[in-house]
């Protein structure tokens, strides 16, 4: 093991875990002084090519309050066939199946390389995956057409035995009965009336008095779920029917008069979808996919009225407390989201509209259930089409990259307690000895439910060191954490993935250097950012920024090397060097800044930030900028206005956008058509290179980023200009006219100014 960097990387590869601190301060007091909390980013289902699941069930610690799973960190007495739980120290008998166990004949879960292991549970019924399409019909004709095609296409991508259902909505909500011959049949609901799950099931005839059925034949009940849900049918059976049905789908026929928005009953439609699944398939992997082309305009969950003259709420309105409908709507969707989560289903939102479509209010549906949120301008764009297609992509095993109904359980050794989690999850409210009273994120529990997750879904999990200062941990003691994720695999198997990690304790006073060196500034930046964004959901923007600033200053004070009151003497060690820069960009990011963003956009950005893994999150915080020129191979350059040069092509990846920017000269050349001349083939290649690289990114990214190809002076160049550090602005004209980049017309502070201030504050004894 060479450097911490490698160690961290290796750990991430193997376990999908990255900790802010890789050596842990051994007492509560010291831990709090570290400023950045002890926390980790966990990617529960990280794709592991080299991890074949084992086909048996895990061995649990017998202590009822512990139930930790046998892992490589456990002490094993091969002779006595005993193992000691490394969390509660309970000594346990191996089960009978393990009688042949010995030092040389170890089960996989005891081998160190299987710190992460996956079990396949064989018992229990296997239930099919369920996809319930909830489709808005208040769309423009071509939008609807495109959506219909996408949906029809998706049928071929679904697992053949998966169940599908279709709900369409506009002014009314229609639940389509599939597999009808000769006549298409649907149940219609008023779009303005909220119904309880019971009512919905009654009205759909799902609560038939099962008496005659049960009495009739005992064989019947087995098939019951299939029989009773006329609305959810196996794809392979009703493939053609559904394709036709989708083909005949018409725009909402109710007239929309001038100056009105179409009446869109999204709230009721979702409510019915949730109620339908709740009644028929509780605790089975199911995905409600909502496709909407505008804001809900009536009924419960209404975000804006149908009068066009009343615009949809903006941040301004929200700050002024002028968003009349927001609270009520949010409450409606929250209630739905919680119900959905309780049933283990997830809700995706695909919102394609030029204006806002109420994602702010609906966000919890995706956020709490682990569903996707996709925002686009139109269903007739490749952004939507490819994103949607990618949902059904498969991994190297040919399995869908989706898992359902997961429960994540965290167990800690006794020096640690769990403070909370931030990610697409809901609390299961399981209290236990290892649950901290201090909450960070969603706390107060040691278990969370993640109804929908994919191999990149990442949660931030926050801990608290509870070891008292006066109870030192013996030298060489290690703290351990076990993550147990039970989920429904896309192959409908139930699986359990167990990751057990351990880190060294260190005394912060004597071994601060160790701790410092083991700081993972990337992980820390993302974890702090998640905390910040989490707070931003409920607090005012400026407060969050202030909090972030204070944390940064404290961190610098703690770990910087400086002479008091001498800003120039300030230095940070290598393991901290990038952290302030991350914070600088985070402050400017759309996650914390709402200026220039609609509430919907903010919700969208935050949604993705709260679920992506570390690499993607970092890109979101600080976009990557590559520069292409004749001077050499493409190189990453500073995200700085000084990088914008006339003879360069820039490729910026902000996660949500891919921007290709042609410098002034390049743009002129291209205009002059040099690329088409054989003698300038190299120019052609130069132009092509960023396009190819961009394609690579586009291929891998979910959701599909907005792809922007622009040039110097182009209107779309604003995407680039707003992201770079404004080192040159119209205010500091000294660089004006020089070869070194482009000035940005902004009053924002540049990184330089930010750092200067930071240093000053860090060294000041006053703060």
């Amino acid at each position: 093991m060479a450097t911490y960097l490698e160690f961290i990387q290796q750990n991430e590869e193997r376990d999908g875990v990255r900790f802010s601190w890789n050596v842990w301060p051994s007492s509560r007091l010291e831990a709090t002084r570290m400023v950045v909390p002890l926390a980790c980013l966990l990617t529960p289902l990280k794709e592991r090519l080299d991890l074949p699941p084992v086909q048996y069930e895990p061995v649990l610690c017998s202590r009822p309050t512990c139930k930790a799973i046998l892992n490589p960190l456990c002490q094993v007495d091969y002779r006595a066939k005993l193992w000691a739980c490394n969390f509660c120290f309970q000594r346990n008998q191996f089960p009978p199946a393990y009688t042949g166990i010995s030092e040389v004949n170890q089960p996989a879960e005891l081998m160190p390389q299987f710190s992460t292991i996956e079990y396949v549970i064989q018992r229990g019924p296997q239930s099919p995956l369920i996809f319930l399409y909830v489709v808005d019909t208040c769309l423009e004709e071509d939008d609807l057409q495109a959506l219909k095609e996408s949906l029809q296409m998706s049928l071929s991508l679904l697992p053949p035995d998966a169940l599908v259902g279709l709900i369409t909505f506009g002014r009314m909500v229609q639940v389509h009965e599939l597999s009808c011959e000769g006549i298409s049949k649907s149940y219609v609901f008023r779009g303005t009336k909220d119904l309880t799950a019971k009512q919905i099931q009654d009205m759909l005839g799902l609560t038939k008095p099962a008496m005659p059925m049960q009495q009739a034949r005992p064989a019947q009940p087995k098939e019951h779920p299939f029989v009773s849900s006329r609305f959810l049918q196996p794809v392979h059976k009703i493939d053609m029917n559904l394709t036709d049905l989708l083909g005949e789908l018409q725009r909402d026929p109710w007239p929309v008069t001038q100056g009105k928005r179409p009446l869109r009953s999204t709230g009721v439609a979702l409510s019915i979808a949730v109620g339908l699944l709740e009644g028929t398939f509780p605790n089975t992997g199911a995905r409600i996919m909502l496709f909407t082309g505008g804001p809900p305009t009536q009924g419960p969950g209404m975000v804006v009225g149908d009068e066009l003259k009343v615009p949809i709420r903006s941040w301004h309105d929200i700050e002024k407390d002028n968003a009349r409908l927001m609270k009520k709507a949010t409450k409606h969707y929250e209630m739905l989201a919680n119900r959905t989560a309780a049933n283990g289903h997830c809700i995706d939102i695909y919102a394609c509209a030029l204006d806002q479509s109420g994602l702010l209010e609906m966000k919890c549906c995706a956020n709490l259930t682990g569903g996707y949120m996709v925002m686009g301008d139109s269903f007739n764009t490749s952004l939507f089409k490819q994103t949607f297609q990618r949902i059904f992509s498969k991994d190297f095993n040919g399995d869908f990259r989706m898992a359902f109904g997961a429960t994540l359980e965290v167990k800690t050794s006794r020096e640690l307690k769990i403070a909370g989690a931030i990610g697409p999850c809901v609390s299961l409210n399981v209290k236990g000895p290892c649950v901290s009273e201090n909450e960070l994120g969603v706390g107060g529990t040691s278990q969370w439910k993640i109804c929908g997750l994919d191999p990149t879904t990442t949660l931030g999990i926050y801990f608290e060191v509870v070891n008292q200062h006066n109870a030192p941990i013996p030298q060489g003691g290690r703290g351990a954490i076990q993550f147990v994720t039970q989920y429904q695999h896309s192959s409908t198997q139930r699986r359990i993935r167990v990751t057990t990690i351990a880190r060294n304790w260190a005394d912060a006073q004597s071994q601060l250097k160790h701790i410092e060196a083991a700081f993972d500034q990337e992980a820390a930046a993302v974890l702090m950012a998640r905390l910040g964004v989490f707070r931003a959901e409920s607090e005012e923007g400026p407060d969050v920024l202030r909090w972030l600033d204070r944390q940064l200053i404290r961190l610098c004070q703690k770990f910087g090397q400086y002479n008091k009151e001498d800003a120039t003497s300030f230095r940070l060690s290598e393991s901290f060097s990038l952290y302030p820069q991350f914070m600088f960009h985070l402050r400017r990011s759309p996650f914390l800044q709402v200026f220039n963003n609609s509430p919907d956009e903010s919700s969208y950005y935050r949604h993705h930030f709260a679920r992506q893994d570390l690499t993607q999150s970092l890109i979101m915080i600080q976009p990557i900028l590559y520069s292409y020129s004749f001077h050499g191979p493409p190189e990453p350059v500073l995200l700085d206005s000084s990088s914008i040069l006339a003879d360069r092509i820039l490729l910026m990846d902000t996660f949500f956008q891919i921007v290709i920017y042609l410098g002034e000269t390049i743009a002129q050349w291209r205009k002059a058509g040099y690329q088409d001349m054989p003698e300038y083939e190299n120019f052609k290649h130069l132009l092509q290179a960023p396009l190819d690289d961009a394609q690579d990114i586009l291929q891998a990214r979910f959701p599909m980023p907005r792809y922007i190809h622009t040039e110097h002076g182009g209107s779309q160049a604003r995407f680039l200009l707003s992201k770079v550090n404004p080192s040159q602005t119209h205010n500091n004209l000294y660089a004006w006219g020089q070869e070194s980049g482009a000035p940005i017309l902004t009053d924002d502070v540049s990184l330089q100014v930010f750092m200067d201030h930071l240093k000053k504050l860090a060294v000041s004894s006053a703060s």
Partner: protein, 1018 residues
């Protein structure tokens, strides 16, 4: 007389007063001496009033303009003016014409009678309509006063107008008469005419009205013993040799009908004259509109209103009109003229808003006109100006229907439309109950099959090629299924709405479609519906949400329309309007009996109100196998102008023809949608009460979601003030409605009645059939509020009261023991008795609650012709029928005594038809009709006659066709053998007999009335 009146409240409550007052009057009028005068006077009164207006001038002056003026259509326009023509070719014409001349002379002084007056006097005798009880037929001219004296006994020849004598009459009855009640033309003449007609004015044997069946009887005989303290049975007291009245001695409805037919049948009835009494509804006649609405549209209880309210109270004769605004008329009477006054809309009086009509008097050279209703003087709009001729009549009088006709239509402008938008064409929505039993019974399949052909015959406006009516389909059980049958669809779409608590329409486009365009999809749907629900085990149904849904659909489509609901069970599913079985026989004859007729919840009333507000008419076809609470579910069709059909224990193989013919008729029939009716009257009286399939939000506007040719509204009038005898009483009924083609129109019916200060005139102008219609409707309305027993008492009392008043004021003194009936009311008792025995007013154990509610509701919307048949069924002897003739065999009276063991009789009351086979029916007849060798082989379960080619079968079929013709309900045929169980139902319809479960016989009832009259007189 202590009871509170129901409809006729005022008359009831005041009668006492009236009676109290009467003595003085009595003394005054009743005096035999002057008795002669009143008749003389009253008659003229009528004509007098009319004279200035129309009649007088017409007569003498050059007839030229008049006849010609008549719209070309009415070729016979000439007739009326020619009244002088001696031969009473058309009996009506002379009758009324005579009044005119008579009038002037007789008024001032009878003595001064010029030749004209003589003529008048002579003619008096022969009046038909006019001469109520007055003109004793046979009277010789020399005794003019006598006619007025209704004293039977004294007059040797014909008995009193209709003197019902106690027992003892039989001996004298003409033989022909009593025989099996073979009235025919012969008997009447036999009885009455021959003797009286000595050299009298032209034969015109009007005398028959007198129909004194009671042949002349010796004075003493008639009298009951003075006091009639006891029931009729006892009255036979001392003088009466027999205990019973001879049935043949009492007035026979058959006779009355036949007489009217004989005298007025096949003739032209010209409406020009005010206050003339039209022929009976049972008579065939042709109407020529000359300024008053045809009696087919409006028929009044009396054509001469008393001039003061005191008189009205005294007489107790209801003043009412039965209005059938859309009555179907024979083709030779032609459709109504359509008047278009352009963008400004119809010309109307500024004050009372009456529409331009023949009652408007143009003055000042045609620049202004005076409203005949409120007397307001209005400017004539410039576009409407026309010069007047020397008689003060507009020159364009004959070109403008609104100036010369009693009935016509206006094109309505946007002001008369909802939201000032032209109306959309109406829609029909078919809503089929697809619950388990309906599917199993095959009913659903039957309906769906039939709809395919019925839809080809949707109603349309005259000029239209295809019907503009759109159609929609809904099926339902516990949930509602709407169907999208847009023509562009490959297959229909079904939209299920299960939220019955708050039902709504799930689609707009494609629900209501043109049948022509969407035919393939509709057929596809109709084919599928029976299969679709073949496996459905759903037994529960909803009802109110179904209506609601239909109404909402029409509302969303912004068009009026009609729902055809095919329903079969009590709506017990959880939904608004849910009903529970509350049929409780124990309530019968208690104060709570009325609740059986009231709806269970207020939901239905509110629902009906909504329907009417949105022009949604509901027609309900019920197929109950048990109690369905007709009183509740039937409320909606009743209030929305729809029709209720009920097929109890429906069996597809037996009852389909009846149902299908009803369905076809219901779809095709002439109908106006989204209608508002307003009845305006001239000053002095006004319409106070409306009875029928209507909804009223205020006291004047009669709202009807739809009104079809069978629906009649009975309107009661009350005095506000004194009525002028010269101006008469004018009625204008205006109906604003939307045609089947989606045009907005106003249909106007005008009618002028005469007024008189003589009670005798009132009694003379009464129309018994209309009276019975009124009594039935008001009584059937009253049962909702009052115990039926009380309602029946009120009816009996009012009957007695009317007769007592007549006796007191109009009839000449006679023995108190004599029951004297005005000629115009001769058959009132038999009808009233039938009404009293109807199962609504008199519960019978074999009649289910639903049936009572059903009949109650049915009668509420009946026109006069239907109510007449309903309360006095037609009984035809089939065995005597001449198989070569297509005419109906002469009817016989509804009494068992008229049946004969060796006869076959057909009985029809408009709802059901019975073929009664006497125990020893002629085998050849049985063979001819049923194609079986003997009576024993006849299968009584059939509901239609087998197809047999024999002449008997053919003519029977023709007869049944005639009976069925124009009847709103297809009658269900029941075959009954004498002395077999099902005969009971048949016997119940023999209304002259004593009821099997109570209800007096005709004769008993007469005695009872007589007793009551005597009590009143004392």
């Amino acid at each position: 007389m202590s009871q509170q009146g129901y409809v006729a409240t005022p008359p009831y409550s005041q009668p006492q007063a009236g009676m109290g007052l009467s003595p003085p009057h009595y003394g005054h009028y009743g005096d035999p001496a002057p008795a002669g005068a009143p008749p003389g006077m009253t008659k003229p009164a009528g004509p007098l009033g009319a004279a200035p207006g129309a009649v007088l001038p017409q007569g003498p002056p050059p007839p030229g303009p008049l006849p010609l003026g008549q719209n070309g259509a009415h070729a016979q326009g000439l007739l009326p003016q020619r009244f002088p023509a001696p031969p009473p070719a058309s009996s009506a014409a002379p009758a009324y014409a005579q009044y005119a001349p008579t009038a002037p002379p007789s008024y001032p002084s009878p003595a001064a009678a010029s030749p004209a007056s003589q003529l008048g006097a002579q003619l008096q005798a022969m009046h038909v309509g006019g001469g109520s009880g007055m003109a004793p037929p046979g009277q010789g001219p020399p005794r003019p006063p006598q006619p007025a004296i209704l004293q039977p006994g004294s007059q040797v020849l014909p008995p009193p107008p209709t003197a019902l004598n106690g027992p003892g009459s039989p001996p004298l009855a003409p033989p022909g008469h009593r025989q099996g009640g073979l009235p025919g033309p012969a008997p009447p003449s036999a009885q009455l005419q021959p003797p009286p007609l000595p050299g009298q004015s032209p034969g015109s044997g009007y005398a028959p009205q007198q129909a004194n069946y009671g042949p002349p009887m010796p004075g003493p005989q008639l009298a009951y013993p003075g006091g009639f303290p006891s029931g009729p049975a006892q009255m036979a007291g001392p003088p009466a040799p027999q205990r019973k009245l001879d049935p043949d001695a009492v007035p026979s409805p058959i006779q009355v009908i036949e007489n009217d037919r004989a005298t007025r049948g096949g003739q032209v009835y010209i409406t020009g004259t005010r206050g003339q009494v039209p022929p009976l509804v049972t008579t065939d006649y042709v109407v020529q509109d000359q300024g008053n609405a045809s009696p087919r549209y409006i028929r009044c209880t009396t054509y001469c209103f008393p001039s003061t309210s005191d008189m009205a109270k005294q007489a107790q004769v209801p003043l009412a009109a039965v209005i059938t605004p859309f009555a179907s008329v024979p083709p030779n009477e032609g459709p109504l003229y359509l008047v278009n006054h352009g963008e400004t809309g119809p010309v109307r009086c500024n004050r009372c808003k009456a529409y331009m009509c023949p009652f408007m008097q143009f003055i000042e050279g045609g620049r202004r006109y005076q409203c005949g209703f409120c007397s307001c003087v209005n400017d004539v709009p410039p576009f409407y100006f026309q010069h007047l001729d020397h008689m003060g009549r507009r020159l364009d009088y004959h070109e403008k229907p609104e100036l010369s006709l009693g009935s016509y239509e206006y094109v309505a402008t946007l002001d008369y439309c909802r939201k000032n938008k032209p109306p959309s064409a109406p829609a029909f929505i078919f809503m089929i109950d697809v619950s388990y039993s309906n599917v199993q019974s095959g009913l659903v399949k039957l309906i769906c099959e039939e709809l395919k052909t019925v839809l080809e015959r949707l109603p349309k406006d005259e000029q239209e090629e295809a019907s503009a009516v759109r159609v929609g389909f809904v099926t339902y059980n516990k949930a509602l299924h709407f169907f999208n049958v847009k023509s562009s669809l490959a297959q229909p779409q079904m939209l299920v709405v299960t939220d019955v608590g708050e039902v709504f329409v799930p689609l707009l486009d494609g629900f209501l479609v043109s049948y022509q365009e969407s035919q393939p999809v509709v057929h596809n749907l109709l084919d599928q519906i029976p299969e679709m629900f073949a496996d459905s085990g759903e037994n529960e149904t909803v009802f109110a949400p179904v209506v609601q849904a239909g109404m909402e659909a029409l509302k969303a489509a912004e068009c009026p329309g009609k729902l055809f609901i095919f329903h079969s069970s009590l709506p017990t599913a959880e939904a608004p309007g849910k009903l529970k079985n509350r049929d409780d026989k124990k309530l019968i004859n208690t104060d709570k009996e009325k609740t059986l007729f009231q709806p269970q919840s207020s939901v239905y009333d509110a629902l009906a109100r909504d329907c009417v507000a949105h022009g949604c008419c509901v027609t309900l076809f019920l197929f109950p196998s048990q109690y369905v609470d007709v009183a509740s579910v039937g409320l909606v069709p009743q209030l929305t102008g729809g029709t209720l059909y009920k097929y109890s224990k429906f069996q597809v193989h037996l009852d389909s023809p009846q149902f299908l013919s009803d369905l076809r008729n219901e779809v095709e029939k002439k109908i106006g949608f989204d209608a508002i009716m307003r009845v305006r009257t001239s000053t002095g009286f006004r319409a106070t009460d409306f009875l029928g399939g209507i909804y009223m939000n205020n006291t004047t506007d009669v709202e009807m979601a739809a009104v079809d040719c069978d629906k009649a509204v009975t309107v009661e009038f009350k005095h506000d003030d004194k009525l002028g005898e010269d101006t008469g009483a004018l009625i204008q009924c205006a109906v604003l409605y939307t045609t089947a083609g989606g045009q907005r129109r106003l249909r106007i019916h005008n009618l002028a009645l005469s007024c008189s200060s003589q009670l005798a005139e009132l009694y003379r102008s009464c129309e018994t059939d209309a009276l019975v219609n009124f009594f039935a409707k008001s009584a059937f309305k009253a049962v909702l509020q009052q115990p039926v027993k009380l309602v029946r008492e009120i009816l009996v009392n009012q009957t007695a009261h009317m007769l007592a008043c007549y006796r007191k004021h109009c009839a000449s003194p006679s023995a108190a023991s004599q029951l004297i009936l005005p000629d115009s009311m001769k058959v009132l008792p038999v009808y009233m008795n039938s009404l009293l025995k109807s199962c609504v007013l008199l519960s019978r154990p074999d009649v289910p609650t639903d049936e009572r509610a059903f009949q109650r509701q049915l009668v509420m919307t009946m026109g006069v012709a239907d109510s007449q048949l309903f309360f006095y069924p037609q009984l035809l002897p089939i065995h005597t029928m001449d198989v070569k003739s297509t005419a109906l065999p002469p009817a016989v009276r509804c009494s068992e005594s008229r049946l004969s063991e060796d006869g076959v009789f057909l009985l029809a009351n408009g709802l059901s038809m019975f073929l009664w086979l006497g125990a020893s029916s002629p085998p050849e007849l049985v063979q001819g009709i049923f194609n079986v060798p003997s009576l024993a082989h006849v299968n009584t379960y059939m509901t239609s006659l087998p197809e047999v080619g024999s002449p008997h079968a053919r003519s029977l079929r023709v007869v049944m066709g005639i009976l069925q013709h124009k009847r709103p309900y297809s009658m269900r045929l029941t075959i009954v053998k004498q002395r077999e169980q099902p005969e009971v139902a048949f016997r119940q319809l023999l209304v002259e007999d004593k009821g099997l479960d109570g209800g007096s016989s005709y004769v008993d009832f007469l005695c009872c009335v007589h007793k009551a009259v005597c009590q009143l007189l004392n």
